[in-house]
Amino acid sequence: MNENIEARQLLERALGTEPELGLDAGKVLALARREAVYRRSTMLGGAAVGVAAVAVAAVFITAPRPPAGFGPATPPSPANCGASVSPSEPPSTTLSSRPPTTSHRSPTPPTAAVSGPPSVAGMCLAK
Protein backbone atom coordinates (compact mmCIF):
# COMPACT_ATOMS: atom_id res chain seq x y z
CA MET A 1 0.00 0.00 0.00
CA ASN A 2 1.19 3.48 -0.77
CA GLU A 3 2.66 5.16 2.30
CA ASN A 4 0.65 8.35 1.78
CA ILE A 5 -2.65 6.50 1.49
CA GLU A 6 -1.87 4.39 4.54
CA ALA A 7 -1.01 7.46 6.63
CA ARG A 8 -4.10 9.30 5.48
CA GLN A 9 -6.32 6.35 6.40
CA LEU A 10 -4.71 6.22 9.83
CA LEU A 11 -5.38 9.92 10.39
CA GLU A 12 -8.98 9.53 9.20
CA ARG A 13 -9.41 6.78 11.75
CA ALA A 14 -8.03 9.08 14.44
CA LEU A 15 -10.69 11.68 13.67
CA GLY A 16 -13.48 9.22 14.39
CA THR A 17 -16.89 10.77 14.84
CA GLU A 18 -16.70 14.52 14.58
CA PRO A 19 -18.69 16.51 17.14
CA GLU A 20 -20.82 19.49 16.19
CA LEU A 21 -18.88 22.62 15.35
CA GLY A 22 -18.93 25.01 18.30
CA LEU A 23 -17.37 27.92 16.44
CA ASP A 24 -19.40 30.53 14.65
CA ALA A 25 -17.98 32.78 11.91
CA GLY A 26 -19.90 35.81 13.23
CA LYS A 27 -18.62 35.25 16.73
CA VAL A 28 -15.03 34.92 15.54
CA LEU A 29 -15.36 38.08 13.45
CA ALA A 30 -16.84 40.03 16.37
CA LEU A 31 -14.01 38.85 18.64
CA ALA A 32 -11.43 39.77 16.03
CA ARG A 33 -12.92 43.25 15.60
CA ARG A 34 -13.02 43.82 19.36
CA GLU A 35 -9.44 42.69 19.69
CA ALA A 36 -8.39 44.99 16.84
CA VAL A 37 -10.06 47.98 18.54
CA TYR A 38 -8.44 47.08 21.86
CA ARG A 39 -5.02 46.75 20.26
CA ARG A 40 -5.40 50.05 18.41
CA SER A 41 -6.44 51.92 21.55
CA THR A 42 -3.63 50.33 23.55
CA MET A 43 -1.11 51.34 20.91
CA LEU A 44 -2.48 54.90 20.79
CA GLY A 45 -2.35 55.12 24.59
CA GLY A 46 1.19 53.81 24.62
CA ALA A 47 2.24 56.28 21.94
CA ALA A 48 0.65 59.16 23.90
CA VAL A 49 2.49 58.12 27.07
CA GLY A 50 5.74 57.90 25.10
CA VAL A 51 5.29 61.36 23.58
CA ALA A 52 4.49 62.81 27.01
CA ALA A 53 7.60 61.17 28.51
CA VAL A 54 9.80 62.57 25.72
CA ALA A 55 8.26 66.04 26.12
CA VAL A 56 8.87 66.06 29.89
CA ALA A 57 12.45 64.88 29.39
CA ALA A 58 13.02 67.58 26.75
CA VAL A 59 11.70 70.29 29.10
CA PHE A 60 14.07 69.18 31.84
CA ILE A 61 17.03 68.99 29.51
CA THR A 62 16.48 72.30 27.73
CA ALA A 63 15.37 74.28 30.81
CA PRO A 64 17.54 77.45 31.43
CA ARG A 65 20.16 76.93 34.07
CA PRO A 66 20.44 79.36 37.04
CA PRO A 67 23.09 82.12 36.66
CA ALA A 68 26.59 81.45 37.95
CA GLY A 69 26.32 83.76 41.02
CA PHE A 70 23.02 82.28 42.06
CA GLY A 71 24.43 79.10 43.48
CA PRO A 72 26.30 78.49 46.76
CA ALA A 73 28.64 81.22 48.01
CA THR A 74 32.20 80.93 46.86
CA PRO A 75 35.10 82.11 49.03
CA PRO A 76 36.46 85.53 48.07
CA SER A 77 39.18 85.27 45.56
CA PRO A 78 42.46 86.87 46.52
CA ALA A 79 42.55 88.52 43.13
CA ASN A 80 39.69 90.76 44.30
CA CYS A 81 41.87 92.03 47.10
CA GLY A 82 44.67 93.16 44.88
CA ALA A 83 47.06 90.53 46.16
CA SER A 84 48.25 87.41 44.55
CA VAL A 85 48.66 84.15 46.36
CA SER A 86 50.13 81.02 45.01
CA PRO A 87 47.63 78.17 45.06
CA SER A 88 50.07 75.89 46.78
CA GLU A 89 50.20 78.11 49.89
CA PRO A 90 48.28 76.39 52.68
CA PRO A 91 45.67 78.42 54.52
CA SER A 92 47.07 79.25 57.89
CA THR A 93 44.44 81.54 59.37
CA THR A 94 41.04 80.89 60.75
CA LEU A 95 39.06 84.08 60.72
CA SER A 96 35.69 84.23 62.32
CA SER A 97 33.40 87.22 61.94
CA ARG A 98 30.80 85.81 64.25
CA PRO A 99 30.72 86.84 67.88
CA PRO A 100 32.36 84.38 70.19
CA THR A 101 30.01 81.79 71.54
CA THR A 102 32.20 80.54 74.36
CA SER A 103 31.45 81.26 77.98
CA HIS A 104 34.93 82.67 78.47
CA ARG A 105 34.66 86.09 80.15
CA SER A 106 37.14 88.63 79.14
CA PRO A 107 37.45 92.21 80.31
CA THR A 108 38.27 93.33 76.84
CA PRO A 109 35.67 93.32 74.11
CA PRO A 110 35.87 90.35 71.79
CA THR A 111 38.01 90.83 68.79
CA ALA A 112 38.69 88.72 65.78
CA ALA A 113 40.59 85.67 66.80
CA VAL A 114 43.66 85.41 64.72
CA SER A 115 46.02 82.59 65.21
CA GLY A 116 49.32 82.50 63.59
CA PRO A 117 50.82 85.08 61.31
CA PRO A 118 48.46 87.28 59.33
CA SER A 119 47.59 85.90 55.97
CA VAL A 120 46.59 87.52 52.72
CA ALA A 121 42.92 87.13 53.56
CA GLY A 122 43.48 88.76 56.90
CA MET A 123 45.24 91.65 55.22
CA CYS A 124 42.35 92.05 52.85
CA LEU A 125 39.94 92.41 55.72
CA ALA A 126 42.28 94.80 57.45
CA LYS A 127 42.09 97.13 54.48
Partner: protein, 162 residues
Protein backbone atom coordinates in the same frame (compact mmCIF):
# COMPACT_ATOMS: atom_id res chain seq x y z
CA UNK B 1 -12.94 47.59 6.09
CA UNK B 2 -16.41 46.14 5.50
CA UNK B 3 -15.32 44.18 2.42
CA UNK B 4 -12.36 42.83 4.29
CA UNK B 5 -14.55 41.73 7.18
CA UNK B 6 -16.99 40.01 4.82
CA UNK B 7 -14.12 38.29 3.07
CA UNK B 8 -12.72 37.12 6.39
CA UNK B 9 -16.14 35.88 7.55
CA UNK B 10 -16.61 33.98 4.29
CA UNK B 11 -13.20 32.39 4.70
CA UNK B 12 -13.95 31.39 8.28
CA UNK B 13 -17.30 29.89 7.26
CA UNK B 14 -15.81 27.85 4.44
CA UNK B 15 -12.61 26.67 6.15
CA UNK B 16 -13.49 26.39 9.81
CA UNK B 17 -14.42 22.70 9.82
CA UNK B 18 -11.30 21.66 7.91
CA UNK B 19 -9.10 23.79 10.14
CA UNK B 20 -10.66 22.22 13.22
CA UNK B 21 -9.91 18.73 11.89
CA UNK B 22 -6.26 19.67 11.34
CA UNK B 23 -6.11 21.24 14.80
CA UNK B 24 -7.64 18.10 16.31
CA UNK B 25 -5.01 15.91 14.71
CA UNK B 26 -2.36 18.25 16.10
CA UNK B 27 -3.69 18.37 19.67
CA UNK B 28 -6.02 15.38 20.09
CA UNK B 29 -8.89 17.23 21.74
CA UNK B 30 -11.93 18.67 19.95
CA UNK B 31 -12.49 21.54 22.41
CA UNK B 32 -8.85 22.49 22.42
CA UNK B 33 -8.88 22.25 18.64
CA UNK B 34 -11.65 24.86 18.51
CA UNK B 35 -9.65 27.14 20.80
CA UNK B 36 -6.59 26.73 18.61
CA UNK B 37 -8.57 27.51 15.46
CA UNK B 38 -10.11 30.58 17.07
CA UNK B 39 -6.71 31.86 18.23
CA UNK B 40 -5.23 31.25 14.81
CA UNK B 41 -8.10 33.08 13.11
CA UNK B 42 -7.78 36.04 15.50
CA UNK B 43 -4.07 36.25 14.72
CA UNK B 44 -4.74 35.93 11.01
CA UNK B 45 -7.33 38.73 11.13
CA UNK B 46 -4.66 41.18 12.32
CA UNK B 47 -2.65 40.55 9.15
CA UNK B 48 -5.61 39.91 6.84
CA UNK B 49 -5.08 43.09 4.81
CA UNK B 50 -1.49 42.09 4.07
CA UNK B 51 -2.23 38.50 3.03
CA UNK B 52 -2.69 37.99 -0.71
CA UNK B 53 -6.04 36.50 -1.71
CA UNK B 54 -4.56 33.23 -2.99
CA UNK B 55 -2.42 32.69 0.09
CA UNK B 56 -4.98 33.09 2.84
CA UNK B 57 -5.46 29.38 3.37
CA UNK B 58 -1.74 28.68 3.57
CA UNK B 59 -1.26 31.65 5.90
CA UNK B 60 -3.98 30.56 8.33
CA UNK B 61 -2.68 26.98 8.28
CA UNK B 62 0.79 28.25 9.10
CA UNK B 63 -0.55 30.33 11.98
CA UNK B 64 -2.58 27.35 13.22
CA UNK B 65 0.44 25.05 13.26
CA UNK B 66 2.50 27.64 15.13
CA UNK B 67 -0.28 28.26 17.63
CA UNK B 68 -0.61 24.49 18.21
CA UNK B 69 3.14 24.01 18.67
CA UNK B 70 3.41 27.05 20.98
CA UNK B 71 0.45 25.86 23.00
CA UNK B 72 1.93 22.41 23.48
CA UNK B 73 5.19 23.96 24.68
CA UNK B 74 3.59 26.01 27.44
CA UNK B 75 4.55 24.42 30.70
CA UNK B 76 1.02 24.46 32.11
CA UNK B 77 -0.25 22.68 28.98
CA UNK B 78 2.68 20.35 28.65
CA UNK B 79 1.60 16.90 27.63
CA UNK B 80 2.19 14.01 29.93
CA UNK B 81 2.40 10.54 28.51
CA UNK B 82 -0.42 8.56 30.02
CA UNK B 83 -1.02 4.89 29.53
CA UNK B 84 -4.76 5.31 29.80
CA UNK B 85 -6.73 8.32 28.71
CA UNK B 86 -8.88 9.77 31.49
CA UNK B 87 -12.61 9.16 31.29
CA UNK B 88 -14.31 12.32 30.09
CA UNK B 89 -17.93 12.69 29.09
CA UNK B 90 -18.32 13.12 25.37
CA UNK B 91 -21.21 13.55 23.00
CA UNK B 92 -19.70 11.37 20.32
CA UNK B 93 -19.07 7.66 20.30
CA UNK B 94 -15.59 6.76 19.17
CA UNK B 95 -14.53 3.29 18.28
CA UNK B 96 -11.62 1.60 19.99
CA UNK B 97 -9.81 1.75 16.70
CA UNK B 98 -9.92 5.55 16.52
CA UNK B 99 -8.94 5.84 20.18
CA UNK B 100 -5.90 3.67 19.52
CA UNK B 101 -4.78 5.84 16.62
CA UNK B 102 -5.28 8.95 18.76
CA UNK B 103 -3.12 7.46 21.50
CA UNK B 104 -0.45 6.56 18.98
CA UNK B 105 -0.62 10.06 17.48
CA UNK B 106 -0.41 11.67 20.91
CA UNK B 107 2.76 9.69 21.61
CA UNK B 108 4.58 11.47 18.78
CA UNK B 109 6.64 14.59 19.55
CA UNK B 110 4.72 17.70 18.59
CA UNK B 111 6.84 18.71 15.60
CA UNK B 112 6.89 15.15 14.27
CA UNK B 113 3.13 15.01 14.63
CA UNK B 114 2.80 18.33 12.82
CA UNK B 115 5.00 17.05 9.99
CA UNK B 116 2.90 13.87 9.64
CA UNK B 117 -0.40 15.80 9.72
CA UNK B 118 0.70 18.46 7.24
CA UNK B 119 2.35 15.98 4.89
CA UNK B 120 -0.24 13.21 4.89
CA UNK B 121 -3.47 14.85 6.02
CA UNK B 122 -3.13 18.26 4.39
CA UNK B 123 -1.27 16.61 1.52
CA UNK B 124 1.27 19.41 1.34
CA UNK B 125 4.54 19.03 -0.54
CA UNK B 126 7.65 18.42 1.54
CA UNK B 127 9.04 21.89 0.75
CA UNK B 128 5.85 23.57 1.93
CA UNK B 129 5.85 21.57 5.18
CA UNK B 130 9.49 22.57 5.66
CA UNK B 131 8.57 26.22 5.21
CA UNK B 132 5.71 25.91 7.68
CA UNK B 133 7.81 24.20 10.31
CA UNK B 134 10.94 26.22 9.63
CA UNK B 135 13.14 23.26 8.73
CA UNK B 136 14.78 21.69 5.69
CA UNK B 137 12.86 19.36 3.35
CA UNK B 138 15.21 16.53 4.31
CA UNK B 139 14.25 16.99 7.95
CA UNK B 140 10.56 16.87 7.01
CA UNK B 141 11.09 13.61 5.14
CA UNK B 142 12.93 12.00 8.05
CA UNK B 143 10.37 13.31 10.57
CA UNK B 144 7.50 11.93 8.50
CA UNK B 145 9.20 8.55 8.08
CA UNK B 146 10.01 8.32 11.80
CA UNK B 147 6.52 9.48 12.74
CA UNK B 148 4.81 6.94 10.52
CA UNK B 149 7.07 4.16 11.77
CA UNK B 150 6.29 5.10 15.38
CA UNK B 151 2.57 5.17 14.60
CA UNK B 152 2.69 1.67 13.11
CA UNK B 153 4.74 0.32 15.98
CA UNK B 154 2.51 1.88 18.68
CA UNK B 155 -0.63 0.61 16.96
CA UNK B 156 0.82 -2.90 16.82
CA UNK B 157 1.63 -2.77 20.54
CA UNK B 158 -1.85 -1.45 21.36
CA UNK B 159 -3.53 -4.15 19.28
CA UNK B 160 -1.45 -6.84 20.95
CA UNK B 161 -2.29 -5.65 24.44
CA UNK B 162 -6.06 -5.65 23.79
Amino acid sequence: MGDQDDEFADFVRSRMAALRRTAFLLCGDWHKAEDLVQNALLKAFRAWARVRPGEQDAYVRKVLVRVAIDDSRRFWHRETAAGDLPDTPTSVVDTDESMDVRRALAALPVRQRAAVVLRYWEDLPVEEVGRLLGCAPGTVKSQCAKGLATLRRTLLVLEETE
